[in-house]
Every structure is written in structure tokens, then in C-alpha cells.
Assembly symmetry: C2
Homo-oligomer: 215 residues x 2
């Protein structure tokens, strides 16, 4: 992590932004156009002061005595997270069950993450079409990366292959890697890495099963 600016926004704040976006989207879907900071706090589970502090990082949006304009806040936060009117060229490496599940997760497409190619080493998977995307031979991935500007590589391989795939993705100039393999991979300096640790979530659930008094 770089340290160059004192106004750098903390990782904790950044991780809360997608949750704000989700809750605001739900409010919009329910036709709620305006919400007090108290009600937003009750629904999202952060204190009103936390919400104010979080949003102040981006200029602040609420108005004293009015609360938040849901549509405006939703659009602003979407722009901050997703960029302005842009989409992302995505490839999935590892096209087994998990890769296919992600390719089929249309939710991502709605926010501009477009899967344009999938790769695998397994001859039985190569050539399949998953949600209209063809599974290509992993052997040609490096060539693919040379002729296509890929924004995000999603790693759905086993943990043994994950690092070598990550290295190739970095050499192929992806901007970000979304890693589902249960292993810590190392990426180049200019590549953003997001690891998904599914077991953390399951372990939180088992904690509560063992300590119901904390729920």
C-alpha cells in the first residue's frame, strides 16, 4: 500500500462503500426517495456518525434536516465505485463449477463487468459455451492477453495453479485480479488483488452457532 497522501481513504471505508450501494439500491427498488440519517443507520447497521464520516471522505452528501436523497447518493456512490459510464473487460481462468457459476452470475453484468473469455486446461471443458462465452485453451491465454486489453482476471483454478496464472495475468497487464483460490498469491505492483476467503464467512457463522449470546 502506498502512503503518499494524507487524504488517502482507508481500506475499511472502501469496503463499506459496496454495502451502502446495495442498501441504497434496495431502497430505490422499494420506491424510497429520501431517508433520514437515523433510518439509513437503522437499516444498514452503522451509526449515523459513522455514515457521516464515511461519506465525508467523498465530499459528504446529506443535508441537515433533510437526510439523504436516495437516488443521488446511490448514483454518486456507484460512480465512485464503478467509475463513470465504464465497463470492465473480464476473463475467467479456471472454468470448472466455480468459474461457470461466476460466468452465469448475471448480477455482475448489470454493473458493467463483462466476461469476454474463459480458460481451462481440461480438454472436456475447452470449447464449451457458458452463458455465451467460449472456454478457450489455457495455452493461448498469454496470446489472448497480448491482443486484448483485459481489466480483470478472475482466478477460479485450484490452489496449485493460482500463482502461475496470476503471474501470467500480471505480465498480460490486467489491472486487477479477483482470486478465489484458497492461497495467498503475489502480484505485480500495479495490479490490484482482491482475495475471496469463503471460509471466513462460514467461520463467522459457526462462531455465532457456538456463541449465540453474541448475536
Amino acid at each position: 500500500m502506498s502512503n503518499k497522501s494524507t487524504t488517502r481513504i482507508s481500506n475499511a471505508v472502501i469496503r463499506r462503500l459496496p454495502k451502502y450501494r446495495r442498501y441504497l439500491e434496495e431502497l430505490l427498488n422499494k420506491g424510497i426517495l429520501r431517508i433520514s440519517s437515523k433510518d439509513l443507520s437503522a437499516s444498514i447497521g452503522f451509526t449515523a456518525s459513522q455514515i457521516r464520516q464515511d461519506l465525508n471522505n467523498f465530499g459528504g452528501f446529506g443535508q441537515q434536516g433533510y437526510g439523504y436523497n436516495v437516488k443521488e447518493l446511490y448514483e454518486q456512490i456507484s460512480k465512485i465505485i464503478l467509475g463513470k459510464n465504464r465497463s470492465y473487460n473480464v476473463i475467467i481462468v479456471g472454468s470448472g463449477n466455480l468459474g461457470q457459476a461466476i460466468a452465469n452470475y448475471t448480477h455482475f453484468y448489470r454493473t458493467g463487468f463483462i466476461v469476454n473469455a474463459m480458460f481451462d486446461v481440461n480438454p472436456r471443458l475447452i470449447g464449451l459455451r457458458i452463458n455465451d462465452v467460449q472456454v478457450l485453451d489455457a495455452e493461448i491465454m498469454e496470446d489472448y492477453l497480448k491482443s486484448n486489453a483485459v481489466d480483470i482476471g478472475i482466478i477460479c483454478t485450484n490452489k496449485e495453479s493460482a500463482q502461475s496464472v496470476a503471474t501470467k495475468l500480471c505480465q498480460g497487464n490486467v489491472k486487477g485480479i479477483w482470486n478465489f483460490a484458497p492461497i495467498d498469491i503475489v502480484v505485480g505492483e500495479n495490479v490490484f488483488l482482491e482475495n475471496v476467503h469463503l471460509s471466513d464467512s462460514l467461520h463467522t457463522l459457526s462462531y455465532y452457532i457456538n456463541h449465540p449470546e453474541d448475536y
Copy 2:
């Protein structure tokens, strides 16, 4: 969430515990038996004071001038998260790509989460064996729950079916639900719910792609 005790441990602390466990496991795998609070802090990315505060919720483990005994801390935290020498009877509802990916994710088995049955409504999936577990007709799930004490139900259905599945799981006395369907479901009072929002993680990645100065 209940509010009955002033010593209730916050959700934020609980969500950090699995991460401690993962890092300690990695240290153990590297043969590191003792670690200073400063080095643990550097590797896990929380401040030494945060770590001390977190662990103090459970009695505190470090020793002034010694640091942490990695194996002891790992075992204590594992016990807090997973319970003492216990395993969990798990079923997966929805046996498409995601359900199959989770059934095959052997990582869970190592920590005692044993998938004993899978369910689906799709005749092409019913009867399949995934990682030695049979996919059963979703029609018989309620009967299955009557004759088997299931700890955790994992929902891997589409979002249209998720609530009705959750209701049946609650009626069938599961202790916890791990929900992958992208929808907010409602569960009974004594059932713990853990939602996985994969898009939050992808959106964090896209935030950093759009704001590299914050990385």
C-alpha cells in the same frame, strides 16, 4: 441482534477472528512458533493495539516481552470459532455449478463442515454424486430435515427460490443458514444468517482500479 449483555462481543471483532486464524495457520505451516505483536501486526495488517484489544475479548493471549505462541493462539482461536472437537452436519440446497463448487471445496471438510446431502429441483441433477454426496429431490428436503439434525443449510439456489428454501430450513430446525443467493432473506429468531455478497468484493476491486491512489 440481542442487546442483553454489556460484554457482548461486537460483530466487527467476530469477523476479524477467521482472519487471525488463517494467518496463524500460515505461520504454523511455515514453522513459525512464536511471533511478536509487532510482526503479527505487520503480517495481518491490524495495529498491535487492535490485535491486543481484539484478543482481550477472549481473555488475552500474548505475554509482555514474549509475544504470541503461534500454536497455542491458533488452537484457542480455532476452538472459539469452531467449538471444541465438533463437526457440523451441512446440507446444500441448489446443486448447480455453485452448489457443486462448494461441495467440492474440501477446505471446509478440514474444519469439520461435512456435507451430508445436496438437493435440487432439476431432474438432470437429482441422483448425481458430487464428491461422494448424492443430490436428492428437493421435494424430500422437509422429510430429510425431520429425520436428520442439520446444523447448517447452504442456499445456492436462484434468488426466486431462496426465501422459500430458507423458510423450510428454519422449520427444519437448522442452526445457521449460509446464503449465496443475491437477495435478503428473512430467517427465524433462533437461526443465524450469513449472507455472502460476492459483488461487494468485486466492487472493492473496481474501486481500487478507479482510485489507485488509495491502494
